[in-house]
Symmetry: C2
């Protein structure tokens, strides 16, 4: 879950998930890890980057197509996690689906 | 710098900046704050979301057009910060320019 996603040449797709958690985060870390592991096995998954501090968490997952994103959204285990997120873990969140048009990398 | 960006209806653009910092972070926090304040004043700026933990930092800025992103990239004070980032603060980073096609918000 740490480090950079080794994405291919654009175009491809990104899902930007920004969230503020509620006070009740029991079981959250375990579920988050499970979801990353599960997402990684989905067709069209290209990588994920994630960071969280006190204010906000941002997870960006990368996908080959809108179709792959749709399938992941509808994955049954993922749906359970989404419901638990809404009912318990998240105070609020934003999801943005984007087409990546350009990328550049810098390494020291 | 904390909280959600109140973005308008898509389409608009996002710049996903993922970074790993080096050991030498002197002056980084101050510059980061300055850059967010400066970006906020640019034409076409729609908002910014940022999170950082030990592993990775992710900052997503939102813009009305590719033209606004280009102008911000070429802003002279921002160019100074970019150079300092490359020479000192960042071990590596990735920049992805995306077109946001869809968004949804959830509030508890």
């Amino acid at each position: 879950m740490n480090g950079f996603a080794k994405t291919p040449e654009p175009p491809y797709y990104a899902v930007i998930f920004s969230s503020q958690r509620s006070e009740d985060v029991a079981g959250y870390g375990e579920m988050a890890e499970k979801m990353v592991a599960l997402a990684s096995k989905q067709t069209g998954f290209l990588g994920v980057e994630s960071a969280r501090d006190e204010g906000l968490g941002i997870t960006v997952s990368y996908w080959d197509s809108l179709e792959s994103i749709k399938k992941w959204k509808e994955n049954s285990a993922h749906k359970v996690a989404q419901e638990k997120g809404k009912s318990t873990w998240y105070q609020n969140y934003a999801i943005r689906v984007c087409k990546v048009e350009r990328q550049s990398f810098f390494e020291m």
